[in-house]
Assembly symmetry: C2
Homo-oligomer: 428 residues x 2
């Protein structure tokens, strides 16, 4: 197939007519498909059903003899902290177990910094006038949502294939003391599926922030979420900051949302001992403890970090064919047309498709009218604005394989149709 960008006007008009026909046919099927959110499928949820019945009243005791059904143990069960610390390659003392989702841990951490500051010495962020966060984009919409809600200004940072544009990050962080934080999804980034290179992690670990109370919000959401063989490897940033002036610079967040049950898993705050102590010094007024029963369920279910990794292979076996469908359809339908680009992630939950600049919203509308729901265009950018109107986040996990074939076929027709319209508008 010829590149759209090299077609004559007549060829484009003919192509567009064919696409119009194809699109009408899709509309007549009255599909109702959703590729908008990174929700695990029912088959994935079923992998953890045993967790629901693994505990009863007779064996609801932690290894230290503590009855998990009663009050206490703010920092989380020792064995739950050990499970997380093994997964994250840190010490148990670096871990606080949170509630049933890591989003809340992130929000509470951000809110705590606003209200109290980060270390008991520096001023609360909310008392320091306008403050700013660096937001590698596209990124996770909920990071940007909470940052905006708390009144923090967001600065877009371009993503490269190695992670955030570090020249820009270093320039800004070292020169502007009102920049207090930076969001990162360092492994299989949402939505691009990019894993930060060793060089990127090293440069982040050795930042020289103008703000003494600068913090990296390291959302390691996909820490064990490999889908293909030869998965990406992420450097352990704590190995790089430990013992340096940046020892307290990184807050890491993890959860089992996409390992066991979203909103019913366990989550954790992982950081330096100073940061753990500071967090606990305020958390102790917020709760007596999070759900230790669910913590013990997870420990019993997995045994240890190896159990988690074995479990993730079952998820991968379910997700791999779905990612294959998305990637092979993109390649077959859009390859060589010079109207889009995408990466082939080795894990995570998304495929990030960049359509011709200025057509993403149009693609969304066309898909919507044909019964296919995509993530709202712009949602993956601060303030909901994709400056290029180009990025479309594809979430393949929830639909069935048959639905995915349908949805991807519709999407590709819409991407081509929007591009043809755009090129004709430009040329004509």
């Amino acid at each position: 197939m010829k590149k759209y960008t090299e077609m004559t006007a007549a060829e484009l008009i003919s192509e567009r007519a064919a696409l119009d026909m194809a699109y009408k046919k899709e509309c007549e099927k009255h599909l109702s498909l959703d590729m908008s959110r990174g929700k695990p499928s029912t088959a994935q949820l079923d992998l953890s059903n045993e967790l629901l019945k693994i505990l009863d009243g007779e064996d609801a005791r932690a290894e230290n003899g503590f009855d998990v059904r009663n009050y206490g143990i703010l920092q989380g069960l020792p064995e739950a902290r050990r499970l997380i610390s093994e997964l994250c390659c840190v010490d148990d003392d670096n871990v606080i177990i949170g509630g049933t989702a890591s989003l809340e841990v992130m929000y509470n951490t951000l809110s705590r910094a606003m209200t109290f500051g980060v270390d008991g010495k520096s001023e609360p962020w909310s008392r320091q006038g306008k403050i700013k966060f660096l937001c590698p984009a596209p990124g996770y919409d909920r990071h940007f949502g909470m940052t905006a809600d708390l009144g923090i200004e967001m600065i877009n940072i371009k993503m490269t294939n190695e992670g955030p544009d570090m020249d820009e990050v270093e320039r800004l962080v070292s020169s502007d003391a009102s920049i207090k934080g930076m969001w990162c999804v360092p492994k299989y980034s949402n939505p691009d599926g990019i894993t930060y290179s060793d060089e990127t992690v090293r440069r982040i670990a050795s930042l020289t922030p103008a703000a003494r109370d600068f913090r990296v919000f390291w959302d390691n959401a996909y820490i064990v979420h490999d889908i293909y063989d030869a998965p990406d490897a992420l450097l352990n940033i704590f190995d790089l900051t430990r013992g340096t002036k940046n020892e307290d610079m990184v807050y890491m967040f993890v959860s089992t949302a996409k390992i066991t049950f979203p909103g019913g898993g366990i989550s954790a705050f992982v950081s330096s001992k100073n940061n753990v102590a500071h967090a606990l010094s305020h958390m102790k007024y917020q709760t007596i403890s999070y759900d230790k029963i669910n913590q013990l369920r997870h420990v019993r279910f997995f045994g240890g970090a190896d159990g988690v990794r074995a479990h993730m292979k079952k998820h991968a076996a379910i997700l791999r064919p779905k990612f294959d469908i998305v990637l092979s359809t993109l390649s077959k339908e859009l390859g060589g047309l010079d109207i889009s680009r995408w990466r082939e992630p080795k894990g995570g939950y998304f495929v990030s498709l960049y359509v011709m600049n200025g057509t993403a919203k149009r693609v969304f509308e066309l898909c919507k009218n044909a019964g296919v729901t995509l993530t709202t265009v712009g949602a993956t950018y601060p303030y909901g604005v994709d400056p290029d109107d180009s990025n479309i986040r594809i979430a393949p996990s929830y639909p069935t394989e048959a639905e995915l074939y349908d949805a991807m076929r519709v999407l590709c027709v819409c991407v081509k149709l929007a591009a043809a319209e755009k090129l004709l508008g430009t040329k004509g």
Copy 2:
């Protein structure tokens, strides 16, 4: 027995010598007993063991067909909201289901008011200079802890047998716009076990606050926690505020902490539709939803509000003998001595003992040295200071009956010994 206050110095010296002997005997037993926290006993926890196994993957669907193992439904499962709304005699729309403990819901509500204000119109509390809360005292130490942590000044309000001293509350609330809130445990108050009278609830519902953004934090922790027949009845404050200028004045908090499992139950925020909408408008950035699996477990376990009430009768059967031991020992050992007073609560978790002014800390120390741990004296007051050094909170739920006999006997010896010392010090 003669009143200590009417004894001669010689009689007191003789009494004190006898008490010294008795106390030494207790110390020689090397007891290790804890009456410090309102923790349910193992037998109480066992009442809810069925909850742990009530759900499996096959039936993990809400009545609307929603798979509770997946993302979604911020406000909580409809049937969980209905369970709480039935218990609280409000509409489903007035309920948000929170995490596994109500303390966190209270903290988040207070923190939200600090950060965002209460209604999207008034200024955040944190931007209004010094603000204050009324704190009926003695009260719940964790209320005071979070209030202090968030930098809010606390004003002690005396408790009467009908609830907080309403003359004082009305005077302060109507004249000082920096007073933004008031803590209340309206039924079986912690620690006094006082249920607010109808008159008190009516006066609270019709307050005329100088601050437009004044809120009552109505911690209905013991809403169904009756222990004796003919339990106390609390007016439904929402029946009194609905449709009035105070419709948005009350935040209510409830949980199943002391119904099923502390830290593993379900909790709720109950308030006007305006307040629910405002809370959700920020909560949506904090979490996608709380644990719906645990919500469904609770609905399946209880069926409805009647199921909860039937369950509470089983708790009462376990707690009643323990309260009987406390009350009968107090009556037998301290009755008529004119050195202490206490109430006989019909429910809740505590017996509140007022020892001779200026001796509570001494009683605590004496008990500690004899192996009996009491709630830290002063903890039930703002800033940890009991102005009379008189209140001792007794928590009878966790020890066994045998342990309670021992602990109460030690406590009464210590109360008498401290009183004799004090009176001799005064007289001598």
